[in-house]
């Protein structure tokens, strides 16, 4: 890197000896972090390693228990994100802070004191459009946020920060919600920004992206720095993974050959509406056989959640047919689908997947409370229920003080184990798993993925809906790609280029040509 040869690189932000304790965890322990002008500095670590905490401190959202922050050599103390924005530090969180019913311009202007009273939006539309065009952030300033794709919404967040004169931009897992082509656009924008002398902190746990975009990397593990500002060029993916996890990581899951059996789930030309009564599934068809894991890839919001709900009986379809083991279950109740052997790992663990205030016992018996030995007529045999819960707690390694602990007190990984224990113990014939590993740490992810593989070996049909391509590629036998409520095609060879094209709306039959043309050039 030419930058490395300059002797005194300008340090923009310097955090020293940062400590931050939350009830029960030491999130940051004596962390040092140094950000230079015009660099992309990646902050790498597992979930819960303290990356977001550290950056929330730099962005003024949290106050450190001890440690100092220097901005351009001057010590600062932030009491709110506004203080940080004043010295040019802005953070874009994983959950976008955008008002859906307002336009792009309105969102950018929100909270500013200029204009003082009357807003003539047209003047600002042009200003914002120009700012965006300079950096490749193409978005219509007059569009309402809810009309935009996630990628466009992210651009609005970046614009919001740039409009406030930010020159240090912190991005928390910015690629998690993007399609491959959108990630490329984002990277182009980031490079343009660093060329203008702005600095970027890129929080991620995706190694391939970090090696592609960053100049330097700082790695955190359990709140401590394991590598401080090392040059990305001088390291490898494997080395970074080891620094992050603390042991060597296997990137492959061992997959036993299983011969797929009969068709368990068949979805034919299903149409359905989403919560806003807009058409969400537009004639979608797919099949899942016994003993195979079928992945469903796609950018969030293309109908994945609606599909899972339609199959499990939580949502009505307006047209089409759903069969489980040849039996028509279209628009039947959830009870029917449970009796047909369907189990559901919902996306929303805390509200759909579990009853947060009820105990582990109450949560695990939700499917078999009316069967012997737990159900006795209209009574519940609490001894049998407790025995059942204790057995599952041991079997699925649920870490909790007692079986009558309310599940809202459990960590994400343990809560997911409670849900998996309930769903797997009902010996499902079809399992619909939506984002089963989202937000879990590496250890918990491995556990969940192993359980899914066991279901496959036990002869269940598994439909795995995920936004993590790597997870889909390593677990699935086949992958369908969904786009705007339709299946764009099916991939059996894990060709990531094809998947990427289909995720952005090119049907499979058109891809063949495109790719051969490209290769021909």
């Amino acid at each position: 890197m030419p930058k490395e040869e300059v002797p005194d690189l300008k340090v923009i932000a310097h955090m020293q000896g940062i400590r931050k304790r939350f009830p029960g965890v030491l999130a940051n322990d004596q962390v040092d972090f140094e950000l230079r002008e015009g660099e992309v500095h990646a902050l790498l670590g597992e979930n819960g390693a303290g990356k977001s905490t550290l950056m929330n401190i730099l962005a003024g959202l949290y106050h450190p228990d001890s440690g100092t922050i220097n901005i351009r050599g001057k010590q600062v103390s932030f009491n709110s994100p506004q203080d940080a924005i004043k010295v040019g530090i802005g953070m874009i969180h994983q959950h976008f802070m955008l008002v859906p019913s307002q336009t792009v311009t309105e969102n950018v202007l929100l909270g500013l004191n200029d204009p003082p009273f009357i807003i003539n939006l047209k003047d600002y539309d042009d200003k914002i459009r120009q700012l965006g065009e300079r950096l490749g952030l193409i978005v219509d300033p007059r569009a309402k946020i809810w009309q935009l794709t996630v990628g466009e919404q992210q651009r609005v967040e970046i614009l919001k920060m740039l409009y406030r004169g930010t020159n240090v931009l912190i991005m928390d897992e910015p690629t998690a919600v993007l399609a491959p082509s959108e990630i490329e656009d984002l990277f182009l924008t980031l490079r343009k920004m660093t060329a203008e002398g702005k600095s970027i902190v890129f929080i991620s746990h995706k190694l391939n992206e970090i090696t592609e975009i960053s100049d330097r990397v700082t790695v955190l593990r359990r709140g401590k720095v394991t590598a401080s500002g090392i040059n990305t060029r001088e390291t490898t993916r494997e080395k970074l993974a080891e620094l992050m996890v603390g042991r060597e990581v296997l990137f492959r899951i061992d997959k036993k050959p299983v011969k797929p059996g009969d068709v368990v789930l068949s979805v034919e030309n299903v149409q359905a509406e989403n919560d806003k009564n807009l058409q969400s599934l537009r004639g979608l068809s797919l099949q899942v056989r016994a003993g195979e894991i079928v992945g469903l890839a796609g950018v969030a919001g293309n109908g994945q959640s609606e599909l899972a709900e339609v199959i499990t009986g939580l949502r009505k379809c307006t047209a089409g047919k759903i069969c489980i083991h040849g039996q028509d279950t279209t628009n039947q109740s959830t009870l029917t689908s449970i009796r047909q052997g369907v189990s559901h790992i919902p996306e929303d663990r805390t509200h759909v997947g579990s009853a947060p205030n009820l105990s582990i016992t109450d949560n695990v018996i939700m499917k078999n409370y009316n069967q012997q030995p737990i159900g006795m007529g209209w009574l519940i045999n609490s001894l049998a229920a407790n025995r059942f819960a204790t057995k599952l707690k041991d079997e699925y390694e649920i870490t909790a003080p007692l079986i009558n602990t309310p599940v809202r007190l459990l960590s994400g990984g343990n809560l997911q184990r409670v849900i998996l224990a309930r769903e797997i113990s009902s010996k499902p014939k079809l399992m619909v798993a939506v984002q089963p590993t989202r937000g879990l740490d590496v250890g918990a992810i491995e556990g969940v993925q192993r359980l899914l593989m066991q279901q496959r070996e036990a002869g269940a049909a598994v439909l795995l809906i995920s936004e993590e391509l790597e997870e889909l590629l390593s677990l699935s036998d086949r992958i369908y790609i969904i786009y705007e409520g339709q299946i764009m095609g099916e991939v059996t060879d894990g060709d990531i280029r094809k998947i990427g094209l289909m995720m952005t709306g090119t049907p499979l039959d058109k891809i063949g040509k495109e790719i051969t043309e490209e290769d021909g050039k």
Partner: protein, 322 residues
């Protein structure tokens, strides 16, 4: 029966509804539903009439009436914003509290004679416009004319000013507003207060202008509840709110006046001869309010007609999503 006179009176009745609806609309736009409108209106009507009866200055009555309702609304603000209690329950309690206080303090007010009320007048040129001039600009109370100015201003404020932008953000996605330095709690207190001021103004308009006097809880006779329904009917838009308020006002007048004449269009008037028809008519505005409220509370419909997304949800910093 002269239709234009019915409509003229309807516009006056609608003005009280308009103020109450605009106030509730502003509070709901910030995310706080206040079901205490009826009680706050009563308090405003009582306080305004009391001040005018004792000091002889109706304008002072209007201001005191507004302040009284505004102040009592802050109880609701504290309970729902800081204590995060259910807005429906708190609003209902506020309604009973304010109504009770008004009835007790207003005891004996109706026996005071010759209380000064607000002026009514005819606007010179505008009243010459056929039909419209007679209905809208002839012999109306001053607050009616103020009403014509207020609702477009409220629309402009919400949609075209910085403060309006912040108000909408707080009601739709308070976390986004908070992240950009807007004080969500302070905004909500402010708009609940403004909602109270408007409800007080609506009450004062009734007791000092539209149907002057103090008739205990019959002074407002449920108009506060209609206002709550009108906010939903108006889909949180001040212009629609004005239409709704005037239409409802006219309906209420029509219900009263249609029972007067013996003959309508040369036929015997059934409402004159059969009092039960009259009762049925009197019920209609309330029945309509119930229907609107029931429809409005249904989640699916809620999403389609643009309810402020954070309406009814307490804001806690750091909670995901909201």
């Amino acid at each position: 029966m002269d239709m234009s006179i019915v409509l003229q009176a309807g516009v006056a009745t609608g003005t009280a509804l308009l103020f109450a609806t605009l106030g509730e609309l502003l509070a709901e736009r910030s995310g706080i539903m206040n079901l205490g409108v009826e009680g706050m209106m009563l308090l405003g009507a009582m306080a305004a009439y009391w001040v005018s009866a004792h000091y002889g200055v109706p304008w002072m009555g209007v201001i005191i009436g507004m302040l009284a309702a505004g102040l009592i609304s802050q109880i609701h603000a504290f309970i729902t914003i800081n204590l995060r209690a259910d807005q429906v329950v708190s609003g209902l309690s506020l309604n009973f509290l304010a109504a009770g206080v008004s009835v007790v303090l207003g005891e004996g007010l109706n026996s005071i004679k010759g209380v000064a009320i607000l002026p009514s007048f005819t606007i010179p040129l505008l009243s010459q416009i056929p039909w419209i001039g007679k209905i809208f600009f002839t012999n109306q109370g001053i607050l009616v004319y103020i009403g014509y100015l207020v609702f477009p201003l409220v629309w402009y404020f919400i949609n075209r000013t910085r403060q309006g932008l912040h108000l909408r953000a707080v009601g739709e996605f308070p976390a986004a507003a908070d992240s950009l330095g807007i004080n969500v709690y302070r905004m909500r207190y402010l708009y609940v207060f403004i909602g109270g001021l408007f409800a007080g103004l609506a009450g004062a308009a009734i007791s000092l202008s539209i149907s002057p006097g103090w008739f205990s809880e019959k002074t407002t006779s449920g108009e506060g509840w209609i206002a709550v329904g009108l906010v939903i009917f108006a889909q949180w838009n001040p212009i629609r709110a004005a239409f709704g308020a005037y239409i409802f006002g006219a309906l209420r007048r029509l219900v009263l006046d249609i029972q007067g004449p013996m003959m309508i269009l040369g036929l015997a008037n059934p409402f004159y001869y059969n009092p039960y028809f009259g009762f049925f008519l009197q019920m209609l505005p309330y029945a309509f309010t119930i229907i609107v409220l029931v429809l409005g509370s249904r989640e699916a419909i809620k999403k389609r007609i643009g309810t402020p997304a954070a309406l009814g949800i307490p804001y806690i910093r750091g909670e995901r999503g909201m």
